[in-house]
C-alpha cells in the first residue's frame, strides 16, 4: 500500500478522482431536477459512466427533448471514448476480463492520467487509480446530489437551470485551446440557435453534431482536438497521442 502511494501516477490519479468525483454532486442534483428519478440517475452514473454524455442525456430530457434525442446526443459524445480505448489498448495491453473492466473506466481523465506518464508501469497504475477512483467517488457523489436535489422543491428558484448552463460551459472550456476549436464552438452554437425554432427540442443538438462532424471530416488540423479532460491531471499542457 505504501509502495503504491509513493507512485506519482497513483497520487495524480487519486487527486483527479477527488476533483472529478466531487462534481458528481452537481450531476446528481441536476438529473433529478431534470425529471429523472433516483434510480435512473444512478443507472447513468453506474452504467453509462462518462460525464459529458450523462450531462447531455439529462440536458436534452430537461429541455423537453425526446428519449431518442437524449440517447443520440449521449452516444455521439461517447465516440471519443472509443479513440481513448484504442490508445490505452496499445499502451497497457490489458488481457482477459481486465479488458472489459478497463473499457468501463475509459474516460477523459483516466486516459489523460495514464498517457501523461512515460514509464509503462506508471501508465498502468495511473489509469487504474484514476479510473477506479473516479468510478467509486463519482457514483457516491451522484447519489448524494440526487438525494439532495429531490428535496429542493422548485429547481428554478435555486437557479439549477443556470447551474446546467454553467456545467456545460465548464465541460467545453478546457477544450477551447487555440483559434480553431473556438471557431468550431461558435459555428455549432449558431447552428443550434438557428435550428431551435424549426425542429423539435433536442434535435438542434444533433444538428450541431452533424455540422461538427463535417468540419472534422473535411478540414485538416490537430487530430487530438477536443480530447482534453474536464479536470487536467498534469498542470502543463501536452498533446496526448503525439508520443504514443
Amino acid at each position: 500500500m505504501k509502495k503504491l502511494l509513493s507512485s506519482p501516477a497513483v497520487r495524480v490519479g487519486l487527486s483527479i478522482s477527488v476533483a472529478t468525483g466531487l462534481y458528481g454532486v452537481s450531476f446528481g442534483a441536476l438529473s433529478v431536477t431534470s425529471g429523472l428519478d433516483f434510480w435512473q440517475t444512478m443507472a447513468l452514473s453506474l452504467l453509462l459512466f462518462s460525464g459529458g454524455s450523462q450531462f447531455a442525456f439529462i440536458g436534452v430530457v430537461g429541455g423537453g427533448g425526446s428519449g431518442i434525442a437524449a440517447m443520440s446526443a449521449a452516444t455521439l459524445l461517447g465516440m471519443r471514448n472509443g479513440i481513448y480505448g484504442m490508445q490505452l489498448n496499445a499502451l497497457l495491453h490489458p488481457t482477459g476480463w481486465r479488458k472489459y473492466v478497463a473499457a468501463q473506466v475509459t474516460i477523459d481523465e483516466s486516459t489523460a492520467t495514464s498517457t501523461g506518464q512515460t514509464d509503462p508501469a506508471e501508465q498502468r497504475r495511473g489509469f487504474w487509480a484514476a479510473g477506479l477512483g473516479i468510478y467509486v467517488l463519482w457514483n457516491l457523489f451522484t447519489a448524494v446530489g440526487a438525494l439532495a436535489g429531490s428535496g429542493l422543491g422548485d429547481p428554478k428558484q435555486w437557479g439549477l437551470d443556470g447551474a446546467a448552463v454553467a456545467a456545460f460551459l465548464a465541460l467545453l472550456w478546457p477544450r477551447l485551446k487555440g483559434r480553431e476549436p473556438v471557431a468550431i464552438a461558435v459555428v455549432c452554437a449558431v447552428a443550434t440557435v438557428v435550428a431551435v425554432p424549426f425542429v423539435p427540442a433536442g434535435v438542434p443538438i444533433l444538428v450541431a453534431a452533424v455540422v461538427a462532424a463535417a468540419i472534422g471530416w473535411f478540414s485538416h488540423g490537430r487530430s487530438d482536438e477536443g480530447m482534453e479532460p474536464d479536470v487536467e491531471p498534469y498542470r502543463e499542457h501536452h498533446h496526448r497521442g503525439a508520443e504514443t
Binding site: A103, V165, I205
Partner: protein, 103 residues
C-alpha cells in the same frame, strides 16, 4: 417507462464505444480522421448543449436569467475557478437575477 429504454440503450452504446477501442486493430488509430471527428464532435455537442440550456425553451428562444448564468460562468472559468465553483456561480447568478425580477 419508455425513458428507461432509451436510457439503458444509451448506457449500452456508451459501453460499446469504449469496448470497440480495445478490440479494433491498432491500424485504425493511424487514421487521424476518425479521432478528429470524435474531437470536433465533442466540441460541437458541448457548445450546442451550452447554448440550448441557456436560451432555448421548447422550440422558442428566450433571454432570461440563464443568460446571466452563462455570462457569470464564463467569468468564473476565465478566473480559473474549479468545476464545482463554476456550477455554483451559475446557479447563484440565475437565482439572484430571478429574485430581482428577471425571469
Amino acid at each position: 417507462m419508455s425513458l428507461w429504454i432509451w436510457l439503458l440503450m444509451a448506457c449500452a452504446f456508451a459501453y460499446a464505444w469504449k469496448l470497440v477501442g480495445y478490440f479494433v486493430p491498432a491500424k485504425l488509430l493511424e487514421n487521424p480522421r476518425m479521432s478528429r471527428v470524435a474531437g470536433t464532435m465533442t466540441i460541437g455537442l458541448l457548445a450546442s448543449l451550452t447554448v440550448v440550456n441557456a436560451v432555448a425553451s421548447g422550440q422558442s428562444l428566450a433571454a432570461d436569467a440563464r443568460l446571466g448564468a452563462l455570462f457569470a460562468a464564463a467569468v468564473a472559468l476565465a478566473l480559473r475557478a474549479p468545476f464545482l465553483v463554476v456550477v455554483v456561480v451559475g446557479a447563484a447568478t440565475a437565482a439572484v437575477l430571478r429574485m430581482l425580477g428577471w425571469n
